[in-house]
């Protein structure tokens, strides 16, 4: 880890001001992504600006839905009664992630900005277009068993966001509140926050340099209450998803009135599937409908040699998640 200076910002203005003065500086919240990458010398920052004193806290119902401050911890949000009762999929996506220790440390904003677990990205001895633009992508023909099959490009096939929370946030129309150095706030839907790799996999989100995530807001609806997050991994706990599904259904008299579907582990970004939703709405809540929706979700898949299994795994994961919600 490179030597750096450290300071604690007392306000958003001070934090963004610091990054304006020193563009290579980085914010630190829980530090569980940042220090991990800095220890591996994959990121270097001359200064860390501690943002934990900023007032980006609170978990509350507002007129726009559930608002969660970006500095709330994963453990607290995951077990909060409001979240558990009205947004079960969000709670599960948090409590099935990482470990109890990491969840105590990790913030919501940091979670949204975690980085890929692609083995080539995480080993500076290899070329990687995301880390060193233009250097190449060994994962295309190399070990890609845990990488993405939807939204990928010839430049990069990583699941840029390998985690869980943003998958649920993508499904349920979450909106991020961001704040820049001028103190100006803007709202960006989570589904528009992440960028597909295309030819520029180093550009991962629409966050401007120095811009802060202030909060995330999730509209309340029948389909958020009747929702689940199903995560499939190589071991039963403390592992990233090979495939996951966040789903919510509003079923009335056996017919699906509203549906929300997002997939994790398989997309270059948290993968909202409007194709699957279209295949569900207006249809009876049956296995045949669920299978058709799963097929629609994976239609555009572009698997490589070692992640071909994910095409079927993701469909089965989605079908099982839909069955669980329909039955619940």
């Amino acid at each position: 880890m490179n030597d750096f200076s450290y300071t604690q910002a007392a306000s958003a203005k001070e934090a963004t001001g610091r990054l304006k003065d020193q563009a290579q500086a980085a914010y630190i919240a829980g530090g569980t992504t940042l220090l991990d990458l800095m220890k591996a010398n994959l990121q270097e920052h001359p200064q860390l600006v501690d943002i934990n004193l900023l007032p980006f806290k609170g978990i509350e119902q507002t007129k726009d839905g559930l608002r969660i401050g970006a500095l709330e911890r994963m453990s607290v949000v995951g077990e909060h009664p409001l979240v558990v009762q009205a947004f079960p999929a969000i709670s599960q996506s948090l409590l099935l992630a990482a470990s109890p220790q990491l969840r105590n440390m990790a913030s919501i904003g940091g979670n949204i900005l975690q980085r890929t677990r692609c083995g080539y990205f995480r080993d500076a001895a290899f070329p990687c277009n995301k880390r060193v633009p233009g250097s190449g992508c060994p994962a295309q023909t190399g070990d890609n068993h845990n990488l993405a099959i939807l939204g990928v490009s010839d430049s990069c096939i990583a699941n840029s966001y390998p985690g869980d929370l943003s998958v649920a946030l993508a499904a349920f129309d979450a909106v991020l509140t961001l704040e820049n150095a001028k103190g100006k706030q803007r709202r960006v839907p989570l589904t528009e926050f992440y960028l597909l790799p295309g030819t520029t996999p180093q550009k991962e989100t629409v966050l401007e340099p120095g811009e802060l995530i202030v909060a995330v807001t999730i509209p309340t609806a029948a389909h958020t209450q009747r929702s689940t997050y199903l995560k499939v991994r190589e071991r039963s706990s403390y592992a990233y998803a090979l495939a996951s599904a966040a789903v919510g259904l509003d079923v009335q008299a056996g017919t699906i009135r509203a549906a929300r579907v997002a997939l994790g582990g398989v997309g270059a970004q948290p993968w909202r599937s409007r194709e699957a939703e279209q295949a569900l709405v207006g249809q009876p809540a049956t296995d045949a409908t669920f299978r058709a929706a799963a097929a629609a979700a994976l239609r555009g898949a572009q698997p490589r040699e070692h992640n071909r299994y994910k095409v079927e795994l993701a469909q089965n994961t989605l079908v099982r998640a839909l069955q669980q919600v329909a039955a619940g």
Partner: protein, 210 residues
């Protein structure tokens, strides 16, 4: 981690003189720990907080005692405990948040010391495995690990015990399955899991069904 993180305590690093800038306080751990707030509230609203660079001296509260640490901002809590304070009970396994060997309690919450910066823990109550026993009387979790043979090589054990104490306190050890899930952040290469589970479940009040 390489030893260049620990320059000899008596030779100030170059950054110490050139980069340290004493700007006005704005509260928070730096203001509180390094200089009591001498500036007025109005000043503090506009002033920037102090920047800490190079090796500095600060105080950590560890196992109920105030301890002085000399370290750069990049020194993790794990390295500060082990290399500066001679508290080597907390173990370094992966150093990347993947194994749980470095688990300590910060303000009562189980936390990974390897992904925490020491400089960020000022003003907090840190408890390590050394702080668990009351004199010669073992903590019930320590006693349960001995009774149930909850270890083989013992390397993961301090982390397992710290995690187990928190797990029971959180109310996450009420069934075998729940305890397994909420202890999953602590890996054991020796595979002592059944006995670790038995110890945690016994302290939670319900012996494991195995």
């Amino acid at each position: 981690m390489s030893s260049d993180l620990f320059p000899p305590a008596d030779t100030p690093s170059p950054a110490d003189n050139s980069r340290r800038s004493f700007l006005k306080q704005s509260g928070g751990i730096l203001g509180l720990a390094l200089a009591p707030p001498l500036v007025s509230q109005a000043e503090r609203l506009t002033a920037y907080s102090k920047v800490v660079a190079g090796t500095t001296e600060f105080t950590l509260r560890v196992n109920g005692q105030a301890r002085t640490v000399r370290a750069e901002p990049r020194v993790t809590l794990l390295d500060a405990l082990r290399e500066r304070l001679d508290l080597t009970g907390t173990k370094k396994g992966c150093d990347h948040g993947q194994c749980g060997a470095c688990t300590v309690h910060i303000d009562g919450q189980r936390t990974l010391a390897c992904l925490s910066l020491a400089v960020m823990q000022q003003g907090k109550e840190i408890t390590t495995i050394e702080g668990l026993a009351q004199g010669t009387e073992l903590h019930p979790m320590q006693a349960a690990f001995i009774k149930h043979d909850g270890f083989q090589c013992g390397y993961c054990t301090p982390g397992q015990i710290m995690s187990g104490v928190a797990c029971v306190r959180e109310g996450h050890a009420d069934t075998d399955d729940q305890a397994r899930e909420w202890m999953s952040g602590n890996l054991c290469r020796c595979g002592a899991y059944p006995n670790i589970l038995a110890a945690v479940r016994e302290v939670a009040g319900q012996p494991s069904k195995g």
